[in-house]
């Protein structure tokens, strides 16, 4: 192989290398969400109610305890799991039972779901239970309009009104 041809082929191979880098560094495009879809992120970090309610200790019980341990109430640490149900247009799209963190199950319940949904207007219903009986006593239901690519966050913060849609 003569020198000009060799140099030419070298240039072609370098160009091919560069083209490979150039192409695959941006292409083909990736679709993290199907076309025409929106995304619901259900995320919560909430400590459920105590599984067993606190009870007041009697005088006899208190007397049996060491002086430094004489708390007026006996509160078992374990908390109830937090249950969440999400329905879209009447159909369930998520049902979560989030167990409390910690060896004694006394921490917060954490949960996350990524729920792609078709874009458009939907009837959204979120119900949450955080007591031992699993009573879904916190409910939020409303109509939401989700454009393609829109991210709707469902969160729960009792201090800010309970179930939040952001």
């Amino acid at each position: 192989m003569n020198a000009p041809l060799r140099y030419g082929l070298q240039a072609v191979l370098y160009a091919a290398f560069a083209a490979t880098l150039g192409y695959f560094s941006t292409s083909p495009a990736f679709e993290p969400l199907p076309a025409g879809h929106a995304l619901i992120r259900l995320s919560l970090n909430h400590a459920g109610q105590r599984k067993v309610a606190c009870r007041t200790r009697s005088a006899e019980e208190l007397a049996k305890l060491a002086p430094n341990m004489r708390a007026a109430e006996d509160c078992p640490r374990e908390r109830a799991p937090v249950r969440v149900k999400v329905e879209l247009d009447g159909a369930p799209v998520a049902a979560i039972v989030a167990t409390p963190a910690g060896l004694s199950r006394d921490g917060a319940s954490v949960a996350y779901r990524r729920i792609p949904v078709k874009a458009g207007t939907h009837r959204l219903r979120v119900a949450l239970a955080d007591d031992a009986a699993g009573t879904f006593d916190r409910v939020r239901e409303e109509e939401v309009r989700l454009e393609p690519g829109r991210v709707l966050v469902i969160d729960f913060e009792p201090g800010k009104g309970g179930i939040l849609l952001r």
């Binding site: 560069a18 150039g22 292409s27 995320s43 393609p148 829109r150």
Partner: protein, 645 residues
């Protein structure tokens, strides 16, 4: 399955390398410089990254804007730097993956190379981590995707369990501290890469960390052109309330993220963890159960006349370079033929190579490519040193600490090396005493390598001998001597199971003593027999020692032979020439290994006689007759036992 994959990859590489050899030439073939190319790209990434960091703003409001200013505000500086940063990072992934794949294909990841392999696997992940982390910094839609996908992926781990994503649910969750953290990581991880790269490369003797200049120039130019033609650009600014429907995706760094939403985060962890574990364990796959003999050998390299240990699966070139020999090399991949050497003795695995690098005629003539040839027995090679001179033998100063007359004409001299240091040597090697007028006299180590303390020599008086006369007349304890060593190729081969026959003539007992004591120390269990021949009983100066060995070690037998016993010796044992006693006792010497040390006359008479009775030339060791015709260097002395001039 693994072998099949390796064979397939090997064929593909050899094919591609053959084509690249035609275009680039065998010494500039980029496929032979994949590791060095990765290094070069890493430095491009570092240099361009430092420039970008000077203009980057680590705040949630200005991260995106500062990158836009770098990209468009200084198109011919920052813009190109940003593009170089991205493309060099991408290129690094490509060259690293090919580098790893090549080593896997050619089975160069086993044995002592496991460390480089495993550190390479870790390096690849660190580079991935640094690259993915880099994509988070411009805070555009790709950064948003990368951050949230990373959080979602890590949230599948019980330790996070859904907490990480809560940092990216809405814009108010993200603040300036995130960008300080990301910048810190984007500096810290590459520093870790650099540290590990150094460790990774340090294990390879004389590893090249930069490719040839033409490659650097051409690759650098290609990337600048690419940066101009297709500059790296940001997508739209991040908005956590919206998810981009289609993203310009970097498939070098983010392919795992593409699977995240096709599979589940847990399945992706299983895939990535499984592949990483498989890659990390590859040097030991398939597993070999039970005890296995370690295939480590020695190479005697000429013209240095130096014995070098070769680790299991190590190439001749790597072993020689590790020992500081000036062996020439270039591609180190069996492509250029620069490292060609001749195998004089022993066997090697040739390894896969380009036919243009080693012709059939050369192969027939015993030529091999040292960069890929692995010994499968002890070997002796000859090569042409590159530029630098043959490595000189070390010179030591020593003091005579004791002198004992073992026989009327045999003196045991013990030398303590200056500073009390020990000289590493092989059982059977020797030293050259350096005389004032420049002459040398060779004496074998009589001590085994593991024995601490002074060096023991057995010196026989030679009538008219310059040095030996001095030993028996004027030398006294406390005298100082200079010597060079260790030298010599006569040493105990520990591999194999063949019974060993030692043949010692007179003070030829000295190296045999070293070898036998070493064999006992090393736990060599094969049968050993020593035939020690002297003229009279008085000449057999340490006869009690081999008798003691025979009493203590069932695998050892001692046969003393006198050629001219005196009446006062009252000798009833074997008589005659020592090698003839062996010939009588062993009508068939095939399957034996003989170490002969004595006068040149003795071994010259013995060698053809042994060969006639079936002894393989590969199993007959004595410097006196094996190496004499082959050593070209004047300094490469032969063992001249007994201080013969």
């Amino acid at each position: 399955m693994l072998k099949l994959l390796q064979r397939l990859l090997q064929r593909l590489f050899l094919l591609a390398e053959s084509g690249a050899n035609a275009v680039f030439g065998d010494r500039l073939n980029p496929l032979y410089h994949l590791g060095a190319l990765s290094y070069f790209l890493f430095w491009v990434v570092v240099a361009s990254g430092l420039y970008l960091y000077a203009f980057f703003d680590t705040s949630v409001t200005d991260a995106y804007l500062s990158v836009e200013r770098i990209t468009h505000g200084q198109k011919w500086a920052g813009g190109i730097m940003r593009s170089l940063h991205r493309y060099a990072s991408d290129g690094m992934v490509l060259t690293m993956v090919l580098h790893l794949a090549r080593h896997f294909a050619f089975d160069r990841h086993r044995g002592f190379r496991w460390f480089s392999w495993v550190s390479g696997v870790v390096l690849l992940w660190l580079v991935y981590a640094a690259g993915i982390n880099g994509y988070m910094l411009p805070w555009d839609q790709l950064a948003q995707f990368t951050v949230t996908a990373t959080a979602e992926w890590f949230d599948a781990l019980p330790i996070f369990n859904g907490l990480l994503i809560r940092n990216f649910l809405s814009a108010e969750n993200v603040n300036d501290r995130l960008f300080s953290l990301l910048s810190f990581l984007h500096i810290g991880i590459p520093l870790g890469v650099l540290a590990l790269l150094w460790i990774h490369t340090h294990r390879v003797p004389q590893a090249r960390t930069l490719p040839p200049n033409p490659h650097m120039a051409a690759l650098g130019a290609a990337m600048v052109v690419l940066s101009i033609v297709k500059p790296a650009l940001s997508l739209g600014p991040a908005d956590l309330a919206f998810n981009a429907v289609a993203i310009d995706f970097d498939w070098f760094y983010l392919p795992t993220y593409a699977l995240l939403y096709r599979w589940s985060p847990g399945a992706l962890w299983a895939l990535v963890g499984g592949l990483t574990l498989l890659a990390a364990l590859a040097p030991w796959l398939p597993p070999k159960f039970g005890r296995r003999e370690l295939r480590a050998f020695h190479v005697l390299a000429n013209p240095d006349n130096r014995i070098i240990p070769v680790k299991e699966d190590e190439s001749l070139l790597d072993a020689c370079l590790r020992d500081g020999l000036a062996m020439p090399f270039d591609c180190r991949n069996g492509g250029c033929g620069v490292c060609k050497c001749t195998v004089l003795h022993g066997e090697v695995e040739l390894g896969p190579y380009q036919e243009s690098a080693l012709s059939d005629a050369e192969r027939e003539a015993g030529r091999v490519l040292a960069c890929i040839a692995k010994p499968v027995s002890d070997v002796e090679i000859e090569y042409e040193p590159s530029g630098a001179a043959v490595r000189p033998v070390l010179v030591h100063e020593a003091q005579v600490v004791s002198m004992d007359l073992l026989a009327p004409d045999v003196m045991r001299v013990r030398l303590e090396v200056e500073g009390g240091g020990r000289i590493p040597f092989y059982a059977g090697q020797y030293i050259n005493i350096l005389l004032e007028d420049g002459q040398k006299r060779a004496f074998s180590f009589a001590t085994a390598p593991h024995v601490p303390g002074p060096i023991e020599l057995h010196i026989r008086r030679i009538e008219g001998g310059l040095f030996t006369t001095r030993v028996f007349t004027t030398m006294k304890v406390g005298d100082r001597l200079r010597f060079e060593g260790p030298v010599g190729s006569f040493f105990l081969r520990e591999e194999g199971t063949k019974p060993v026959i030692f043949v010692a003539g007179a003070t030829g007992f000295a190296p045999v003593k070293s070898m036998v004591e070493h064999a006992f120390h090393a736990g060599l269990a094969r049968p050993m027999v020593l035939y020690w021949g002297t003229r009279t009983l008085a000449d057999m100066y340490l006869r009690q020692l081999p008798e003691k060995w025979a009493a203590e070690h069932p695998s050892f037998r001692f046969v003393p032979v006198l050629s001219d016993p005196r009446p006062e010796d009252a000798w009833e044992g074997r008589t005659g020439l020592v090698h003839e006693a062996i010939l009588r006792d062993y009508p068939d010497l095939a399957g034996h290994r003989i170490y002969a040390c004595g006068s040149v006359k003795m071994v010259e008479a013995a060698q053809p006689a042994f060969a006639k009775q079936g002894l393989s030339p590969d199993d007959c060791f004595s410097d006196a007759f094996k190496l004499a015709p082959r050593i070209h260097s004047k300094d490469a002395d032969l063992v001249r036992l007994g201080g013969r001039p």
